[in-house]
C-alpha cells in the first residue's frame, strides 16, 4: 500500500483530488433535493475540470507565463544595434508555465458563471410559480396542475 501511495498517488496528487472534487459535485447535482444546492454542486463540478486543465499545464520551478518585459527590450535594442537577426537571449520554455490551459480555463470560468446566472433566474421563476425550491415538492405540484399551456 505504501509503495502504491508513493509511486501512484503522490506524483498525480492533483489529478486524484480533482476526481474527488468532481465526484462530490456530481453526487450533489443528482442527489440533492434543493435546487440551489444542485447549482452549487454543479459549480463545484465545473471547477474540478478547471483543476484538471490548470494542473496539466504546471511546470516545476516555472514562473507565471508573463515574459520579463524589460530584459526583452534591452536585448532587442542591443540586438537591433548589432543588426543580428536572432534575439540576444533565447527564452527557455521550461521556465514559463504552459499558457494554453490558462486561456481555456478563462473561458470555462466565464461559461460556468453564465450558466449559474441562467440557472438562478430559472430557480427564481420556479419559486414564483410553485412557491418552493425543493425538487420533490415542485414535481408534486406539477402533477397537480392538470393542463397549462
Amino acid at each position: 500500500m505504501q509503495s502504491f501511495f508513493q509511486e501512484a498517488v503522490i506524483p498525480h496528487f492533483n489529478f486524484w483530488i480533482y476526481v474527488i472534487i468532481m465526484m462530490v459535485g456530481l453526487w450533489s447535482v443528482i442527489a440533492k433535493n434543493n435546487l440551489i444546492k444542485k447549482l452549487i454542486g454543479l459549480s463545484i463540478f465545473q471547477t474540478a475540470i478547471l483543476l484538471l486543465y490548470v494542473s496539466l499545464g504546471v511546470k516545476e520551478g516555472a514562473t507565471i507565463p508573463v515574459l520579463d518585459h524589460h530584459a526583452l527590450i534591452e536585448s532587442s535594442h542591443s540586438e537591433s544595434s548589432e543588426g543580428s537577426g536572432k534575439k540576444a537571449i533565447a527564452i527557455n520554455p521550461d521556465h514559463y508555465a504552459n499558457p494554453l490551459p490558462h486561456v481555456l480555463m478563462l473561458t470555462a470560468i466565464v461559461v460556468g458563471v453564465a450558466t449559474l446566472g441562467v440557472a438562478l433566474a430559472l430557480t427564481q421563476m420556479i419559486y414564483k410559480d410553485f412557491g418552493t425550491i425543493e425538487e420533490d415538492e415542485v414535481l408534486k405540484k406539477i402533477k397537480a396542475l392538470h393542463d397549462d399551456v
Binding site: A8, P11, H12, F13, N14, F15, W16, V19, M22, M23, L26, W27, S28, V29, I30, A31, N33, S55, L56, G57, V58, K59, E60, A62, I64, P65, V66, L67, D68, H69, L72, K87, A90, I91, P93, D94, Y96, N98, P99, L100, P101, H102, V103, L104, L106, T107, V110, V111, V113, A114, T115, G117, V118, L120, A121, L122, Q124, M125, K128, E135
Partner: protein, 267 residues
C-alpha cells in the same frame, strides 16, 4: 431516496473510469509532458511556440492575454457571446415587461419597499464609504483592462470589476439610484456595442483580404510601425470591447436577479 442511490451508482462508475485513467497521466509538474512540450508524432507543440514566439509576433509579454485575444481570439469572441447570451436568456426568463414599462423607460416609480438611504442610520456609513470607494474601484478596473498586456488582467477581469462597482452601489445604496446612473437602456446598448467592437476589429481585415480576426492587416489603418504593434493595439481595442460587454451584462444579471425582473426594490 431513489435519487441518492442512483447518484451513488453514477458517481461510483464515473469515478472508477476517471481513476482508471489517472495512472496513465504524465507526472504532475513535468515540464516535458506532452501538453507542455508536444508529442513527436504531431506538429510542433503549440505551447512551446507560444512561449518562444509570442513576443516576436505581437510584442505582448503577457502570454495568456496574447493567446486569449490574438491566437485564439475566435474562442474569446464566442466567450463574450456566451456572456451576452446568458444576459439575454435571463432577460427573457425574468424580465417582467408590462406594456408601459418598455425597456427604454427608467425604472418605475419607487414603491414603499424601497428603503432609501436617508431614512436608515446604519446604511449611511456603508453607503457613503461605498460611494467613495466605487470610483476608485473603477479606476483600478480600467488600469486592469489597459494593463492586461503586461500584467495579469484584461477584458474579463476589468469588466467584472467595473460591473462589481455598480453592484456595490446597488447593494449599499438602492438599486433605483444606481439605475438612474446606469439605466437599463444604457447597459443593454453597451453590451451590444462591446461585441460590435470585437467583431468589428475582426471584420476589418476582411476588407484587406486577410482572414477574420487577423489584426496584422490593420497596421495600415492604425498607422503603426509594424504588424506586431498593430496586433498589440488591436488587442487592447478588443479587450475594451470585452470589458464593456462583461460590465453591462454582469450588472444586468445582478439587477434582474435581485429584483426578479421588476427592476425596483431590490435587496
Amino acid at each position: 431516496m431513489k435519487a441518492k442511490i442512483f447518484a451513488s451508482i453514477a458517481v461510483a462508475i464515473t469515478g472508477a473510469v476517471l481513476l482508471y485513467a489517472v495512472s496513465d497521466f504524465p507526472r504532475f509538474g513535468d515540464p516535458r509532458s506532452p501538453a507542455n512540450a508536444g508529442v513527436e508524432g504531431g506538429s510542433p507543440s503549440a505551447s512551446l511556440y507560444y512561449i518562444e514566439n509570442t513576443y516576436r509576433d505581437t510584442k505582448v509579454p503577457n502570454l495568456v492575454t496574447a493567446i486569449l485575444a490574438d491566437y485564439r481570439g475566435y474562442d474569446t469572441m464566442f466567450e463574450t457571446v456566451v456572456i451576452l447570451t446568458a444576459g439575454m436568456s435571463i432577460f427573457a426568463i425574468l424580465r417582467v415587461l408590462r406594456r408601459d414599462d418598455a425597456p427604454g423607460a427608467p425604472a418605475s416609480a419607487p414603491d414603499s419597499s424601497d428603503h432609501s438611504i436617508d431614512g436608515d442610520h446604519h446604511r449611511i456609513i456603508v453607503a457613503t464609504t461605498c460611494r467613495i470607494a466605487a470610483p476608485l474601484i473603477q479606476i483600478f478596473a480600467l488600469y486592469v483592462v489597459a494593463h492586461g498586456h503586461h500584467s495579469p488582467g484584461g477584458g474579463f477581469q476589468g469588466g467584472v470589476m467595473l460591473g462589481a462597482s455598480f453592484i456595490l452601489l446597488a447593494l449599499s445604496g438602492s438599486l433605483r439610484d444606481t439605475l438612474v446612473r446606469f439605466s437599463e437602456q444604457q447597459y443593454l446598448r453597451l453590451a451590444f456595442i462591446g461585441i460590435l467592437i470585437y467583431a468589428g476589429f475582426g471584420f476589418l481585415p476582411l476588407w484587406v483580404g486577410r482572414n477574420f480576426l487577423d489584426y496584422g492587416a490593420l497596421s495600415g489603418l492604425l498607422m503603426t510601425s509594424g504588424e506586431e504593434m498593430a496586433r498589440s493595439h488591436s488587442m487592447l481595442g478588443v479587450e475594451i470591447g470585452v470589458a464593456m460587454t462583461v460590465m453591462s451584462i454582469m450588472f444586468a444579471i445582478f439587477a434582474n436577479l435581485s429584483t426578479r425582473g421588476r427592476l425596483h426594490g431590490g435587496l
